[in-house]
């Protein structure tokens, strides 16, 4: 089994066993305990990585429009038996001839960025068999050098490193600045129809001496913790600097689920699920269990009130925001080696005010399990048809029901 995220179905595949206790849970505890050493060591990294891809999809109107194009192509294939050409934007998405990189490179870099921050560069470097760079490092902290090494090297670096390296070069190797700006540049870029150009334009707009000074000051004032830096600069960076470059109303991925994707059994319910995930409604349910500095908690709450929809999805590196994302908009299905976990169609939350305990259930026992097998089978037929067309074979010839040789 191969760990992967299937954009067209929204299904995450994780090549590891999940704890058996997760089998019937409506909310996985994983989002708060990503680095729990008791997990199968093969589990946390791909599960986090593939889940991040799902949140990218919910965030990005650009990515969701690609899925919309492909879903329409699949439906037309099923109804009239014709396999149309992929749309121009779908073809362009992973066109390796684009310079300096294609949107797909940026998707992977975006995912890797959070993957490294969430799980920590030290752990990622160790898993990838890479040595930590030299230089001082405070106990329990990581440096921008640690982060850059994890971000730019490793066995799959050719897939994800290019955009981050490009940004680092653009900012003359100013790692702390790149690190702070990258998640906002890339998030806003994926609200446009041309993420690569928007990413480059955003970098140009932010390449100013006064901004570098401001970032350096923020970095020092926040005790050099990146989680605080993100919160301090998120509002001004997103609203005053970057969103104005988007032009028209930014398109969130979940906003597109009412169109042609309304017939998508695994994605369309997220139109409601995402709308209900407004952060400020949920703060009391997902207050972090780990003790955190008061200043940090205040900043989390303040930003969630100022920008409730974007707070969670722009910053899954904040454990509190990630817990809400994982509980309210997890992938519809996660196939592990030992079982497939299905998200509730509607999450029921019951709070016992006496004990303070919270119970999560799937309302009416309805999960995405009802539609999973059918959607995956439809996807497999569609993919096989594309392969048949590419190989010049008649439709259906790759079906295993044909006569064996």
């Amino acid at each position: 089994m191969e760990s992967r995220f299937d954009l067209l179905t929204g299904v995450a595949y994780v090549d590891a066993d999940a704890p058996e206790s997760w089998r019937d849970l409506a909310v996985l505890p994983f989002w708060e305990t990503v680095c729990d050493p008791s997990y199968d060591p093969r589990l946390p990294r791909p599960l986090m990585h593939e889940s991040l891809h799902f949140w990218q999809l919910m965030w990005s109107g650009y990515l969701m429009s690609l899925v919309e194009d492909e879903w329409q192509r699949l439906v037309r294939f099923e109804t009239v038996g014709a396999l149309d050409q992929a749309s121009a934007r779908v073809k362009r998405h992973n066109d390796r001839n684009l310079s300096p990189f294609c949107p797909d490179d940026l998707v992977e870099a975006w995912c890797r960025y959070w993957d490294v921050h969430i799980r920590g560069p030290h752990r990622v470097l160790e898993e990838d068999g890479l040595a930590r760079p030299g230089g001082p490092s405070r106990e329990g902290m990581y440096s921008s050098r640690d982060f850059d090494t994890a971000m730019l090297e490793g066995p799959s670096a050719r897939l994800y490193a290019r955009p981050y390296r490009w940004l680092l070069d653009y900012f003359a190797g100013e790692s702390a600045t790149c690190n702070a700006l990258f998640p906002f540049l890339v998030a806003v870029a994926f609200l446009t129809d041309d993420p690569t150009a928007a990413f480059a334009d955003g970098a140009t707009a932010l390449h100013r001496p006064d901004l570098a000074d401001t970032l350096q000051r923020q970095h020092t004032e926040t005790g050099e913790t990146i989680n605080m830096t993100w919160l301090e600069i998120a509002g001004p960076m997103l609203q005053a600097e970057l969103l104005k470059h988007v032009g028209a109303e930014p398109r969130l991925g979940a906003d597109l689920l009412g169109g042609p994707l309304a017939s998508h059994p695994l994605l369309s319910p997220y139109a409601v699920k995402a709308a209900k995930s407004n952060f400020k409604n949920w703060t009391s349910y997902f207050f972090p269990s780990e003790p955190s500095p008061r200043r940090y908690l205040d900043a989390l709450v303040r930003f969630s009130r100022e920008a409730p929809v974007i707070a969670q999805q722009v910053m899954p590196g904040q454990p509190w925001y990630r817990s809400i994302l994982g509980a309210l908009i997890p992938p519809p299905a996660i196939q592990f080696r030992n079982f497939t976990w299905f998200a509730p169609l509607i999450l029921n939350i019951e709070i016992d005010h006496g004990s303070g305990s919270v119970a999560y259930t799937a309302k009416g026992d309805h999960t995405f399990g009802n539609d999973f097998a059918d959607v995956v089978a439809r996807r497999a037929r569609f993919s096989a048809a594309q392969q048949e067309a590419a190989l010049g074979l008649p439709l259906g010839s790759l079906s295993p029901t044909s006569t064996p040789s």
């Binding site: 299937d6 067209l8 690609l66 799959s156 050719r158 044909s402």
Partner: protein, 135 residues
């Protein structure tokens, strides 16, 4: 098995490269990352690469069979229209299926039985030998 030397391009998971590099019976001539050609391909956690490798037919067939046994969710495309021939383990083709793309571009589908198929080995052998003879 035969000792004739052939070259093949193999599209496989990047960790297969080490297997070839550690085998003295084959020579790795190059490796480059590849992405699936399907539009909007899955975001995959594992990098796929194309490995250009040369060696005896016997040694290469052993590697190809081992990769085939590992890739239990993928079928095989053996493309004789490229030079050197390309062997790809493809997600959109059911496991147990081998598609032989001939030098004239036409494709033939073989559905194989079992996981230790003599048919697959025989096909790899014939193809490798034919290519060796034809240069």
């Amino acid at each position: 098995m035969t000792d004739e030397q052939v070259s093949v391009r193999i599209v496989a998971e990047s960790n297969a490269l080490r297997e070839f590099e550690e085998d003295a019976a084959v020579t790795v001539q190059g490796a480059e990352p590849v992405r699936p050609e399907e539009p909007l391909a899955d975001a995959r956690f594992v990098e796929w690469i194309a490995i250009a490798v040369a060696g005896s037919v016997a040694a290469l067939v052993n590697h190809l069979l081992r990769l085939w046994a590992q890739q239990t969710e993928r079928g095989v495309v053996l493309d004789m229209s490229t030079s050197p021939p390309t062997v790809s383990y493809v997600a959109n083709i059911p496991y147990g299926t081998l598609v032989l793309r001939q030098e004239d571009g036409r494709s033939v589908v073989h559905h194989l039985k079992g996981t230790k198929s003599g048919t697959l080995e025989a096909l790899f052998m014939e193809i490798a030998k034919a290519k060796a003879k034809n240069g």
